[in-house]
């Protein structure tokens, strides 16, 4: 696959890996946060950490848009889905995320009709095909996805569709990064910036990280070489004493973002005063809501949801895990109250979250896995 396979080349990875190792100051431990869930996925899927020296640690950030949706919003979605004649749509990723009373799958088992769609536009098609149903698109995602929702609202408005609305759960990444940066016990050395968010917002919004917090950030692509190169670029900045916003992903990310996309968002949505993030609590101005002008497409205005919050236990320590202060197993509720089947915090929702990964495979050290695969490779090559 063009623009994919070239960036998965093991040969080049080995070279980068050597460069990175050569940049490590002896005795120093590095922690970089990959903000984005997509990066976490790439790192996991390709086993990228095998290319990093033990002294470089990657911290998985809050950038998985389904993982951060709090239980109360899942419950509100189910509340809407239970209203008469409602057909709800959402992305496949949302289906298994538990609310206070189970997930969308559980809710469907009790009679709601929540369907997966590949694109928000598919919800419009469903709405046209089912004029007697009220189709509600449960929208999630960061700035990457918000333009698609915005375009969908604009299209619905242009068509005058009357049985379509959006339950808007779009979140913005900058306030989440800021919340982490504001923590007094922060132990991060730099950020791998979210490449696809940046196609929309560009690279400028990260400048405060370098100017106000003096941490380097490299906006990175999603192939493993992209990430490895970004780490190399971060290490280079650190070793050279620089602290800049750099764009590793220049083949896709324009420095100024996508103005058409930003316009579509600004036309249809506005910032909320605050929004709850699973495991992180309330973060001000960290999410979007539908503007008054498009009120007729706003499920929050159409359906009178209870809007009840579901309390996370006080012991929940996602914030600390995200900041790299605590190991997953050090969280008080890890493995007892908080498990992959019943995740309380954001790090437990996706199997790639730090806590879920540790829960499932904590007993198998990376070293043990590497030895096993090395043995197998050696022996298999004999075959």
């Amino acid at each position: 696959m063009r623009y994919v396979d070239e960036f998965r080349d093991a040969e080049k990875a080995r070279a980068l890996s050597a460069r990175i190792a050569s940049l490590c100051e002896p005795g120093r431990h590095y922690k970089f946060m990959e903000v984005c869930g997509g990066h976490t996925h790439t790192i996991y899927k390709h086993g990228l950490e095998d290319y990093l020296p033990e002294t470089i640690e990657l911290v998985h950030g809050p950038g998985c848009p389904v993982c951060v949706i709090p239980m109360g919003r899942v419950d509100d979605s189910i509340y809407i889905a239970r209203q008469p004649d409602v057909l709800m749509t959402s992305f496949g990723d949302m289906m298994r995320v538990p609310g206070g009373n189970g997930s969308f799958f559980d809710s469907n088992a009790e009679g709601t009709n929540i369907k997966m769609v590949y694109s928000p536009l598919d919800s419009l098609k469903i709405a046209r095909q089912n004029p007697d149903q009220r189709v509600v698109f449960m929208a999630i995602g960061f700035e990457t996805t918000a333009p698609s929702t915005a375009m969908t609202i604009l299209r619905a408005a242009a068509e005058g569709l009357e049985n379509f609305s959006v339950f808007c759960n779009h979140v913005t990444i900058i306030p989440a990064i800021k919340a982490i940066l504001d923590s007094p016990d922060l132990r991060l050395d730099g950020f791998i910036g979210p490449g696809h968010v940046s196609t929309v917002i560009g690279c400028r919004p990260y400048e405060f990280i370098t100017t106000d917090y003096h941490k380097p950030i490299v906006v990175a692509g999603f192939e493993p070489l992209d990430i490895l190169q970004s780490i190399y670029m971060l290490m280079l900045q650190l070793s050279e004493g620089r602290c800049e916003v750099e764009n590793q992903y220049s083949r896709v990310v324009p420095w100024d973002g996508n103005l058409v996309a930003l316009k579509a968002i600004t036309e249809t949505m506005e910032l909320r005063p605050y929004f709850e993030w699973r495991g992180l609590g309330f973060i001000s101005q960290s999410a979007m809501q539908v503007k008054e002008k498009y009120a007729r497409f706003d499920a929050e205005r159409i359906f009178n949801m209870p809007g009840l919050r579901v309390a996370d236990p006080k012991a929940c320590q996602c914030g600390e895990v995200l900041k790299g202060v605590l190991k997953p197993w050090e969280c008080k509720v890890f493995g007892t109250a908080c498990t992959p089947e019943t995740p309380i915090g954001t790090c437990m929702v996706s199997p790639e979250g730090a806590c879920a990964a540790y829960y499932n495979f904590g007993r198998f050290t990376r070293q043990r896995v590497k030895e096993a695969t090395a043995v197998a490779t050696t022996e298999a090559s004999k075959v």
Partner: protein, 90 residues
């Protein structure tokens, strides 16, 4: 965040000009290109697809530059390894 996949524009659907048929490794889907209206893509262009929308055009020059950089590093690494091996043979 958010899954984005490169695809090649095969055809602009003239009855629906904000839609383009895009090929991803032999499978095809109509993709909304409305977000690229400032610089509309043409057949042969590569775009980044996210939830049915084209988020940006892929810049071939930048991609080439990136790969050249990586190859440069790779070459340097290979040279070093070779030098190392040579030195140990010596």
């Amino acid at each position: 965040m958010c899954l984005g996949i490169p695809g090649e524009i095969i055809e602009i659907l003239h009855d629906k000009p904000d839609l383009a048929m895009v090929d991803v490794s032999g499978v095809r889907r109509a993709i909304n290109i409305g977000l690229l209206e400032d610089d509309p893509p043409v057949p042969g262009d590569w775009i980044l697809i996210h939830v049915g929308f084209a988020l940006s055009k892929i810049d071939e020059g930048e991609a080439k530059a990136a790969l050249e950089f990586l190859e440069g590093i790779g070459q340097a690494y290979a040279d070093e390894i070779a030098a190392l091996l040579e030195s140990s043979i010596d």
